[in-house]
């Protein structure tokens, strides 16, 4: 009995010493610092529309988390990061600052050049503007090289052409019903010309996407038309069900002992 007691006392002492040692080791650990990594960039709704670069808003709190497999944005730390006020929308009465959008104009690399270098509103073609009669865009090699989608415009099934959407003289602007210029950040003013039903649903939050505060009086970031739809190939023939195909995120874990998911495909259709 006494032997056991002595042994246990020794054991306890050893344990205590070990605990102290391990605690000291633990304290030394956080001294290491993470090396700077290459910037992670991810896309939101569609590739090429609004890429976000990951950054830390505060320590341990990124503005966005990106999927390591597909490069898609998976989580927003701050939904209003890098947004500007949406501006006036007809039939949409939102208090100032409650509706914001992510500006696309700064992402469009050619934007500042469009209006000054080529389509600057001066020159023989513009005074007065002489427009072709058949609404078939003349293939300008420079233009086709810069915007590859133009070679095969998939919008309106041949009924519309460039200047139905782009302003005749101010080429870094879009055009609305009455020929007035519309910013690239407010494409809904233009798209609603034909897609009125979708515009109505979008205004009420049924079509499209809004993030931020869900209550109807809350601040929201609105996704505008072109953040999800590519206006130059909305009806691309290679698509299924109206959407550009994209890589899905990884599938869930298989049950224990199952090598693949072929069992899901083996069930006959019960009729």
């Amino acid at each position: 009995m006494r032997k056991i007691a002595i042994a246990s006392v020794i054991l306890a002492l050893c344990g205590g010493t070990f605990y102290v040692v391990s605690a000291a080791e633990k304290a030394a650990e956080p001294a290491k610092e993470a090396a700077p990594k290459a910037p992670i960039e991810c896309f939101e709704s569609r590739k090429g529309a609004s890429e976000i670069t990951q950054k830390e808003l505060k320590p341990g709190w990124p503005n966005v988390k990106c999927s390591p497999t597909t490069g898609a944005a998976l989580w927003y730390g701050d939904p209003f990061d890098g947004t500007v006020p949406m501006g006036k929308m007809p039939q949409l009465d939102i208090p100032e600052g409650k509706a914001v959008v992510k500006p696309r104009s700064e992402k469009l690399a050619l934007m500042p050049l469009c209006g000054v270098s080529c389509h600057n509103g001066v020159g023989p073609k513009f005074t007065p503007p002489t427009l072709p009669k058949d609404k078939k865009p003349a293939p300008v090699p420079t233009m086709a090289a810069m915007v590859p989608d133009l070679a095969n415009l998939q919008h309106g099934r041949g009924r519309i052409w460039c200047l139905d959407c782009h302003h005749t003289t101010q080429r870094n602007k879009l055009v609305d019903h009455y020929g007035d210029p519309v910013s690239f950040d407010q494409p809904q003013l233009l798209c609603g010309k034909c897609h009125g039903d979708k515009l109505r649903d979008w205004r009420d939050g049924i079509h499209g996407k809004r993030i931020g505060e869900f209550v109807s009086t809350g601040k929201k970031r609105w996704f505008t038309c072109t953040e999800c739809h590519n206006p130059h190939n909305v009806q691309d023939g290679a698509r299924n069900r109206g959407f550009v195909q994209l890589q899905p995120e990884p599938s869930p874990q298989l049950p224990r002992g199952m090598a693949n998911a072929d069992h899901e495909k083996l069930h006959p259709i019960p009729h």
């Binding site: 998976l74 989580w75 927003y76 049924i206 959407f243 599938s251 298989l254 259709i269 019960p270």
Partner: protein, 363 residues
């Protein structure tokens, strides 16, 4: 429990005649002082209890936040029965423990349901492309286990891939009962609409596939939840603003709710959850995404830590096609109310009378 009634206790059925021991008396003279086995055990129990209490006092004072919290949690009430002070105490305890465990400042929110709020969800079934971004957004937000060994990877949302039916001239007369048969499938459609339970391990190069339609399912936050009905410890319940939540501390892990749920919405922590420190989301809610322990059930709660502060749930924010909608059902201006007013809406397994607040709609 009276000590001296012991001989009668075993013979409860026929106590009327056989029981001859007189009832217990408060008179010390009637109770001769003798140490029975029961008294001895009782005293021993008291002693060990008091020593445990002493340990408790020591442990709650100790620097090990984990041990102190675990000890205090053993004596904590069901969340709904706790007073505001007790809730606050519990919150502070958990914040201390999680901050210690994950090496960053973790906030555990205990915001209550606000009056005038009834959360509702709508999903455009025609738009879903099956990209599973919602599934992984949910994992990033809600601190699920994300290990690689069996049972260590938990996802709350399942995306089911259904085979697409076609309306074809030559199949118009198919699917009707033949002879004396009973109609089992669709009619004029082929296939009837789904392949048993649907596929959810699908993994093509790109989605959406031409022959498929996708149906994400998660907790439907029923108004009459079968899981709440069966919970033997009443740890899962419907909050005032809609979501059905779980007090993880009070969960005994019996998995009755998992059997009861007709939507396969609940997940069980078979192992100790694997949650890397850097991936842990430090903004948590007590009834929502705070890190769980082994042996408790968890499920979707519409990101309570966000929605209680008016923010959209994580899955809504990442859906690339905008198929997911969230709003206040009591507010006629909210998106979900507008959808219920204007679109064709159905609820999954409506025949079970669970009254989900999750609506599927299509344009």
């Amino acid at each position: 429990m009276a000590i001296n009634q012991q001989p009668c206790a075993g013979a409860a059925q026929d106590r009327s005649s056989e029981c001859t021991v007189p009832p217990a008396s408060a008179d010390p003279a009637a109770n001769p002082l003798k140490t029975t086995r029961r008294d001895f055990l009782r005293a021993g129990g008291m002693l060990s209890m008091s020593s445990l209490m002493g340990t408790a006092a020591l442990m709650t004072q100790s620097d090990n936040a984990n041990a102190a919290t675990e000890w205090a949690e053993h004596f904590q009430k069901n969340y709904r029965l706790m007073t505001p002070e007790e809730k606050n105490e519990s919150r502070l305890r958990l914040e201390r423990r999680y901050s210690d465990e994950y090496g960053k400042k973790v906030a555990v929110d205990t915001t209550e349901a606000q009056p005038g709020m009834l959360m509702g969800y709508a999903l455009n079934i025609r738009k879903c492309i099956g990209c599973r971004r919602c599934v992984h957004a949910c994992v990033a937000e809600n601190n699920q286990s994300r290990g690689t060994r069996p049972g260590e990877k938990i996802e709350w949302i399942q995306v089911l891939r259904m085979e697409r039916g076609k309306f074809e001239q030559e199949k118009m007369n198919h699917g009707y009962p033949e002879g004396l048969g009973i109609q089992v499938g669709g009619n004029a459609y082929t296939p009837a609409g789904q392949v048993l339970e649907g596929q959810y391990h699908y993994n093509p190069k790109a989605v959406p596939e031409a022959d498929a339609t996708y149906m994400p399912i998660a907790c439907m936050q029923c108004e009459k939840p079968p899981c709440v009905k069966v919970c033997p410890v009443r740890t899962t319940y419907r909050e005032g603003d809609g979501p059905v939540v779980i007090d993880y501390n009070w969960c005994i892990g019996c998995k009755m709710c998992m059997n009861a749920c007709p939507y396969w919405a609940r997940r069980f922590n078979l192992t100790k959850p694997v949650l890397p420190k850097e991936e842990m989301n430090p903004v948590t809610h007590y009834l929502g995404n705070r890190p769980r322990m082994r042996g408790v059930v968890e499920k979707c709660h519409w990101c309570l830590q966000r929605s209680r502060h008016n923010r959209y749930p994580a899955c809504v924010e990442v859906c690339p096609v905008g198929a997911r909608k969230f709003g206040n059902l009591l507010d006629p201006e909210s998106e979900v109310s507008k959808i219920l007013e204007r679109k064709n809406v159905f609820r999954l397994k409506a025949e079970l009378n669970t009254f989900p607040k999750f609506f599927y709609f299509y344009d």
